[in-house]
Amino acid sequence: MASRPSLKPKPKGKGGRKGPQAAGEEQSTAAAAARFVKEWTTWTMKTTKVAVHYGFIPLIIVIGMNSDPKPTLAQLLTPV
């Protein structure tokens, strides 16, 4: 007789899958945590880069305008 598709291997498969699945869950939480940290550091690096890109020159101007002797705004804006 042609072999019928039997249900017998399935329980074996289910039982077999339970073991690696539990270990897989632990691994996935650790992996998820690592991924979260990596994404968060990437996000901070990108934001710092944008902040520095737009804010560095204004920061120098603010520090310079507050140093002694204080220059005036007119001195900052005139070309000569």
Binding site: K49, V52, H53, I57, I60, I61, G64, S67, P79, V80
Partner: protein, 314 residues
């Protein structure tokens, strides 16, 4: 009119005081050696004389000081920039840009920022954290992703040594150390590691200088050997020569140049073993106004670069 110190007669009888003898009599105190130059500056004199900032086109720099410490700068450039290419043909790209900059210079903190019309920011920070420890940050930020670069340097200055640790983007880590061995000789090593390309290298450098000459040697595991020699012929004239051998590409380059520092101008010229002749003139027209002329002629590659410019302000 004040009388001469010894009286007119004695000045002719007393022998002139020998200057050289005082220095010869000093015994070398090996526990009290001077601090050496930083590792990246050991070839400073040779680089200043042999590698002026040659350009092609028009350059205009205006620096306006608002304060002792704070100044703004405006810089215009119209001309061609050379793009490094693999083939023997040089590729020139005509560009024009305006660059705005702000500088804040304090003994303890130095902030220099330059921004161009296309949004590129060039930032340099130097901060003295303590008397001996300095933090330097150097960054070039662009709007295009993945083209920005940054480098953090921590410098420690000891009594007769200097140590530096560098962290850069693309996981670049480097460290170098330089030590004074005698009052005239200093030797140092450096090591670096590039994370993304898994490359590392180690190098060795030494510098010997007296009042009249400076000689340096640099050897690196990347296959580069560089030697340089600068002789100060007089207060106003110095001659420099440099030799570089690249083992990877089997290239040898040697150049010889002069540097005339006169009252009204500074003229630097050099000739290369590739047949390139270059000259750079900075002429002081007035207080704070400098006129620049730059020329570089390469007959073999048919590359002729002439530039002129002006610098106003300190």
């Amino acid at each position: 009119m004040a009388p001469p110190p010894y009286g007119a007669g004695l000045a002719g009888i007393l022998p002139p005081k020998p200057d050289g003898e005082e220095k010869k009599e000093e015994k070398v105190d090996y526990l009290n050696l001077p601090c050496p130059l930083p590792f990246e500056e050991i070839q400073r004199e040779a680089l200043m004389s042999l590698k002026p900032e040659l350009f092609e086109g028009l350059r205009f720099d205006f620096t306006k000081g608002l304060n002792q410490k704070f100044s703004l700068s405006h810089s215009v450039f119209m001309g061609s920039l050379e793009v490094p290419s693999q083939s023997t043909e040089t590729i020139k790209v005509p560009t024009a840009h305006y660059e705005f900059g702000a500088n804040f210079l304090d003994p303890k903190l130095m902030l220099v920022g330059r921004v161009m019309t296309d949004g590129r920011l060039n930032a340099r920070v130097k901060c003295d954290l303590t008397d001996n420890l300095t933090l330097k940050i150097n960054a070039q930020l662009t709007h295009e992703p993945h083209y920005s670069q940054g480098m953090f340097n921590f410098d420690y200055k000891g009594t007769d040594y200097r140590a530096q640790f560098q962290i850069g983007n693309n996981a670049f880590y480097g460290a170098n150390y330089i030590q004074s061995v005698t009052p005239n000789l200093s030797m140092g090593t450096e090591i670096f590691w590039l994370g993304h390309q898994r490359k590392s290298g180690i190098g060795f450098a030494s510098r010997y200088n007296t009042d009249k000459m400076v000689g340096t040697l640099q050897v690196a595991s990347t296959g580069i050997i560089a030697l340089s020699y600068v002789q100060k012929v007089s207060e106003k004239v110095s001659l420099a020569s440099d030799f570089m051998y690249n083992q990877m590409s089997r290239e040898v380059t040697s150049s010889f140049g002069y540097d005339y520092m006169l009252r009204q101008c500074r003229l630097r010229g050099k000739i290369d073993s590739n047949g390139v002749v270059a000259a750079f003139l900075e002429e002081r027209l007035n207080m704070g106004v400098n006129f620049l002329l730059s020329a570089e002629i390469d007959h073999s590659k048919k590359n002729y670069k002439f530039g002129f410019g002006m610098t106003v302000g300190e």
